[in-house]
Symmetry: none
Subunit: 224 residues, 2 copies
């Protein structure tokens, strides 16, 4: 577990880092708000601990900037001022928890654990082959950095092919699985969608192709 800890008071920082390290966390320590922001954007941390009072940018500003950039890493705010105002503001800005100073190390550890636990539940369901991956929850097809949200039928066909790697599926197979057993659609429509998919894969620069075998069917093939 990798944490970012932003705290300008050196002696406190040192002590906390020691203890966190002892508890098997990997910790990066920074000492002002600007560094905190830069580090947070770069490294992928499992959680971020932000002091509110810091030079250059305060913790709330850092938090706001992070959320504005869509970075959803859990954040625990620390502050010496136990005033309710900060607390409200922090939580409104998207902090996950809040701990007033001075705090006991046990309490800090408990909050970090709680925060990490809370986030663990997202497990995207990905189908991958070659350099492409298909998210079964978001319907997103990703190749390299680029993503596209697939229309339903394209998604269903691609999913079907990915679930049957190495197996040839006939147009009838695809028609039945995607359009349903009792459809009256023509096989031509399958060809149309395979064509769309091929164009899309090429456009994204995928190293995966839809390979056809006359009279047998289709399968995905990774390019060398």
């Amino acid at each position: 577990m990798k944490l970012l800890y932003a705290e300008d008071e050196r002696s406190l920082s040192e002590a906390v880092v020691d203890i966190l390290t002892f508890h098997k966390y990997t910790v990066d320590a920074v000492f002002d708000g600007q560094d905190a922001l830069d580090y947070a954007e770069m490294g992928d941390y499992d959680a971020i601990i932000l002091d509110i009072m810091m030079p250059k940018k305060n913790g709330l500003e850092v938090l706001q900037a992070l959320r504005a950039k869509g970075i959803q890493t859990p954040v625990l705010l620390l502050t010496a001022k136990s005033e309710i105002e900060d607390r409200i503001t922090g939580l409104d800005l998207g902090a996950d928890d809040y701990l007033p100073k001075p705090f006991a190390m046990g309490e800090l550890l408990a909050r970090i654990r709680a925060m990490l636990r809370r986030r663990e539940s997202f497990t995207p369901n990905l189908l991958t082959l070659g350099n492409l991956s298909l998210n079964q929850q978001s319907y997103e097809l990703t190749v390299g950095g680029k993503s596209e949200l697939l229309p339903k039928l394209e998604y269903q066909i691609l999913e079907l092919l990915l679930l049957n790697k190495g197996i040839f599926l006939s147009t009838e197979d695809i028609l039945v699985k995607v359009w349903g057993y009792d459809t009256d659609a023509d096989v031509g429509v399958v060809w149309v969608y395979l064509s769309y998919l091929r164009k899309r894969l090429a456009g994204l620069g995928a190293d995966v192709q839809i390979k056809a075998k006359r009279g047998i069917g289709y399968t995905l093939e990774v390019q060398p």
Copy 2:
């Protein structure tokens, strides 16, 4: 974290226990109200999940008996009946939360976490994404400094979307979760409320949008 789970439908129980176990909870499963009560009195659980419809004693009776004995363990009620009556009764009897069946595992996990968190600290129960936060206790939606108290249906839809970040929910999903599986309302009403929510989010200057994908559903998306 140790949970007690009372549910008479074996296949559901088994599945839920598996997932909870996977998420590091220790789970005791019982299959009727009497057992639920006996176990709850003995073991010290961090939370109890009670189905309402159960043999011997129903969930509401178990809850009432527990509170009568001064046992304050947090209780989450489950029920197939989407009727408001049960909800009121349950909350009056001292339930901490309520989840109508059928539910997504993500929702159940979120509610359990919320319940546990509520006990361990007085952190308000906030769902956040981008620059918005939704208070699950007060129904307040906050963006920047501004807050608005949401009408019930708008609140429920937004909560549902926030509990299912990254997942597309179809209009039918939303209809079933919010209006109940036995509603005779038309999907049009979902569109209307999504429209209201969009207008409200825009009015508050949220950087979160409700994104629609034809034939698939809706999800929240943070603007860059």
